[in-house]
Symmetry: C2
Subunit: 295 residues, 2 copies
DNA sequence: TCGTCTTACGAGAAGCGTAAGAATT
DNA sequence: AATTCTTACGCTTCTCGTAAGACGA
C-alpha cells in the first residue's frame, strides 16, 4: 500500500505538465516538444524536472530520450486523462453554445459504407435546410473530436462480434448508437491455402500473417480471438484499394467490410463490421434531429 | 461546434480548482469547503472566480450556493476526472513501491458472502505468512481505494444479469475477475400480494415500491429492467438485518443475495448478485499470489 | 446585525525566458 | 565540435492570506 496524506496529493501533476510529458515522449526530444508546444527548451526541462520531483521518480532517460518503467506507466494514463479533461471542458462549454445550423460530422475511414451513406442521404432529405460538413479522420480521432467539441456528430467503425457494441476509448458520457452492421471478408492473395478451405475457423486466421494497418487493427483481433495474427508489413494509409493490392502481392491478410472489398467471397467467422453514431449530449436543435433521423 | 484554439485550452481548469469546486457544491458553502480543504474562504472564492472566468460561464449561484446548469455539467465530470487523476498518480508510484507483506483488502458491505469468505480462507491457507487486513467500506469506495493505492485488493458486489460483469466506475486500467455469483431474492412483507405469485416477472417488481438503499440501488435496477421501481423510505446504513426489518414493516421491497436473507424464498427473475475481485496491476509478490489463489 | 461571499492589496511562491554550463555523440 | 539537456538567475505572473467591503437573511 502507498501511504496517502490527509485529503489528496492530487493538486500537483497539472494537465500542462502531463501534456508536456506526453509530447516529449512522443517526439523523444525536449527541444522538439518545446517548439511544438510554444515553450523554450528550458521550460520543458523544468516542467519534466517538476514532475519527476513531485512523484519522486525518474520518468525519462536522456540521450536518447526514452521513458523509464514509471514513465511508461504514466504515459498510459496521461492520454486518456487529458482526453477526459478536454472533454469535460467542451461539454461544459456546450451548455452555453448556440445551436448552430452547420453541423460537423466526423467519420472514420471505413465508416461510410454504402448502407450508412444511404441512411445519411435519407436523413438529410428530411432536413433540407441543414448544412452538413463531413470530415474524414482517423478512427480514434472521431471520439476526440466529439469529446472536445470539434465535431457535433461522429461515425466510427470497428470490428465486433455481431450485435456487440464497439469498445470506444473513455472520454466521459457519450451516446453511441449502432447504425449498421455487415459481414467482414478475409482478403487474401490468389492461391493462398485458405482460399481453398470451405469451413473457415478462427484458428486458421490466427495462424496466418496479417498486414498491420489501422484499417484492420491486429490488437483488436487478438482481443476477440486470442493470440496469434502475426504482423507482417505495416500499412499506415486509409486507402482500401492500396491495401488490397498489398494483400494480393502476398504481404499478408486483412479483414474488410464486405461492401468495401467487392469480389472477395470469404466471410470471416464470428466477427463483423459495425458502424456507430457517436455524440455528446446534444442541444435541442438540428443536431438532435439529424441524430434521430440517422437511427 | 465550439471553436478551439491551436493546440488545446487544457492547461487551465487545474485539478485543485476542480476539487475545490466539487467540495463547494457538495457542501453548498464556500466557507465550509475552505475549512475542509485547508484554505481561507477568500482563496476558495478566488478559485471559483478563476474557474468561472476561465470557462466564461457562471457555475454557481450564491446564497444559497447551488450549481447552475453549466455547474451541474461540470460536476458530472469533475468526480471521475479527479478519480482518474489520483489513480494515475497511485499507479505510477506503485512501480516504485516495495512489495509489502501486509495486504489491505477493501470490501463492500455485501461482498463477503459465505462463498467468498470460504474462498478467502482457502487462499489464506495457501499463504500462511501473509498479513491480510480487511477494510469494510462503501461500494464505490472500493474502487477509489484500489485506484488511489489505499488498498491492494478489493471485493465489490453488485446486481447484474447472470454471467455479465459489473459496471464499475472508470478509473483507468483495473483488473476485475468474477469471484462468485448467487441468486438475488426479493424481500417483501408477509401478506404482500407478490408473495402469493408463483411465476414472478420483472414488470411485477417494477410496479412495487422499493426501499431506497445503497445495498440495493434502485438506479441499477432501472438500468437493467427499465423505469419503475418507485422509491419509498431511504435507508442509508449497511445493516441487512435492519433493512429486512424495514421491509417486513412494509416500507418497501428490496433485493438481497440469497445467502444474506435466509428464509426468503422468492428468487428475483433475470438478475443475480455478483462479487468481483478488483486490483490494479500488481507488483509480483504476495498480492499477486493472493489474487491468483482467490480466482 | 450576523453570517457569508467578494474585493483590495501585499507577500511569497511558482513559472518562464535568457544565457551559460555540462554531458553525450 | 555540435547537439541537446541542465542549471543559474532575474523577471513576471499567479496564488494565497489578511482585512475590509458588500450583500442577504
Amino acid at each position: 500500500m502507498i501511504p496517502t496524506p490527509a485529503i489528496s496529493d492530487t493538486d500537483r501533476m497539472d494537465p500542462h505538465l502531463l501534456r508536456t510529458f506526453l509530447t516529449v515522449v512522443e517526439r523523444s526530444s525536449f527541444s522538439t516538444a518545446a517548439e511544438h508546444l510554444g515553450y523554450t527548451q528550458s521550460a520543458v526541462s523544468q516542467q519534466i524536472a517538476t514532475l519527476e520531483a513531485d512523484l519522486g521518480l525518474q520518468l525519462l532517460l536522456r540521450r536518447p530520450v526514452e521513458p523509464t518503467e514509471a514513465g511508461r506507466r504514466l504515459m498510459e494514463h496521461a492520454g486518456p486523462l487529458l482526453l477526459r479533461h478536454d472533454a469535460a471542458r467542451a461539454d461544459v462549454l456546450r451548455t452555453a453554445a448556440a445551436p448552430a445550423h452547420r453541423l460537423t460530422l466526423a467519420v472514420s475511414p471505413l465508416a461510410l459504407t454504402p448502407a450508412v451513406a444511404t441512411r445519411l442521404a435519407r436523413a438529410r432529405a428530411e432536413h433540407p435546410r441543414l448544412h452538413l460538413e463531413v470530415r474524414a479522420c482517423e478512427r480514434r480521432e472521431v471520439i476526440t473530436r466529439i469529446a472536445t467539441g470539434r465535431a457535433d456528430l461522429g461515425l466510427t467503425d470497428g470490428i465486433a462480434a455481431p450485435g456487440d457494441p464497439l469498445r470506444l476509448p473513455d472520454s466521459g458520457p457519450l451516446t453511441t448508437i449502432g447504425v449498421s452492421e455487415e459481414p467482414l471478408v478475409v482478403a487474401l492473395p490468389a492461391g493462398h491455402p485458405l482460399s481453398a478451405r470451405t469451413g473457415l475457423r478462427l484458428a486458421d486466421l490466427a495462424d496466418a500473417v496479417w498486414v498491420q494497418t489501422p484499417l484492420c487493427p491486429l490488437g483488436r483481433l487478438r482481443e476477440l480471438a486470442g493470440e496469434g495474427f502475426r504482423a507482417g508489413l505495416a500499412y499506415h494509409g486509409d486507402n482500401t484499394r492500396a491495401l488490397l493490392h498489398l494483400v494480393a502481392a502476398g504481404h499478408g491478410l486483412t479483414l474488410l467490410p464486405a461492401s468495401t472489398a467487392p469480389g472477395v467471397p470469404l466471410t470471416a467467422p464470428r466477427v463483423g463490421h459495425r458502424v456507430e453514431l457517436v455524440h455528446a449530449t446534444l442541444p435541442p436543435g438540428p443536431a438532435t434531429r439529424l441524430a434521430d433521423a440517422l437511427t
